[in-house]
Assembly symmetry: C2
Homo-oligomer: 187 residues x 2
């Protein structure tokens, strides 16, 4: 397989991917990324998150002209007004979009053409935890079920192996499956 | 404190909140919620999540007329085209919007008026994990730092106590801080 700077597979610039890996192998400090977000409460269950700059690859990123905004709210049954998906639904989005990137980038690196990729997710949650009605019930998802459908130029075994690799290296799957330390402080 | 069906505090219908808690105490099965999402890959790092119905309070929710859509992509330095925030940035949004709901709902229940509430979040991540360059480096955030600013009709001690309670009962904080089982299967 030959790669040139023009080559893209699955919409991924494979040469840039190889260069990125090489650059980090030469200078491990380039691998440090710090992502940021600011959230402002707007009333009731409604809040808005603004996402723009981040630190990564040794510098502050300046690629985004305007911030992304994400709305969060609850549905009426949870006392909100449906101004956006709720927080645990946003977790499902984060997980799916992470696995999509991992799947497609690693497929590109392995020379596998992906034509279609789709994820269905479901998370089950018991409201006793959030409402403080039971200390035995965790507030978050007890379990997340994900199914995916892929149309790719690969054997079933290659797809399974790729999927295993993607699961081992997915940032959001790791965040969900394993403990992350969170520090909360008031300004 | 008297509550009527008309009473709202912080934009939260306090009477409905009390009713919801009472209904779940009477019938614990009402506390089971199943949230869903579907994600479709669109090319490169870009995918789109659609979020609409869910199961909760004993029935399929029908309050949303049109699905919410959330875009996910990577910035150019991570081989994407900035069609949306990336997956780990979406995790920060999910965490903040969850804490906002928890803070404001519980403040309303306690009779505390919240005027302003804002969260700043930062998550640090080492790309060695995602790129498969080190099995010692976790793919996800090593650490998330959150600071908040609140203007509310409460003492500093009341705010701290409320914040502790919110942290104990936040679904997304629980999902991030503690392990969640995720099942992945191909269709």
């Amino acid at each position: 397989m030959s790669t040139t700077t023009q080559e893209t597979r699955n919409g991924v610039n494979v040469a840039q991917l190889v260069e990125t890996i090489g650059a980090i192998q030469n200078d491990p400090s380039l691998a440090t990324f710090r992502f940021r977000a600011t959230n402002t409460w707007l009333g009731g269950g409604h809040s808005r998150t603004s996402i723009n700059g981040f630190w990564g690859a040794g510098q502050e990123d300046a690629s985004r002209q305007t911030p992304f905004t994400l709305e969060g709210d609850e549905p009426p049954v949870l006392l909100g007004q449906n101004n956006g998906p709720n927080a645990v639904e946003a977790v499902l989005h984060a997980l799916a979009s992470c696995l999509a990137v991992g799947f497609v980038y690693n497929a590109a690196a392995q020379g596998i053409e992906v034509r279609e990729l789709e994820f269905d997710l479901e998370g089950e949650l018991d409201l006793h935890g959030f409402l403080g009605l039971s200390e035995q019930t965790r507030p978050g998802y007890g379990h997340i079920t994900l199914t995916y459908r892929v149309d790719a130029d690969a054997t079933s075994e290659q797809i399974d192996e790729l999927c295993q690799y993607v699961q081992r290296t997915s940032p959001v799957l790791d965040i969900i499956k394993n403990p992350v330390t969170v520090t909360v402080a008031r300004r």
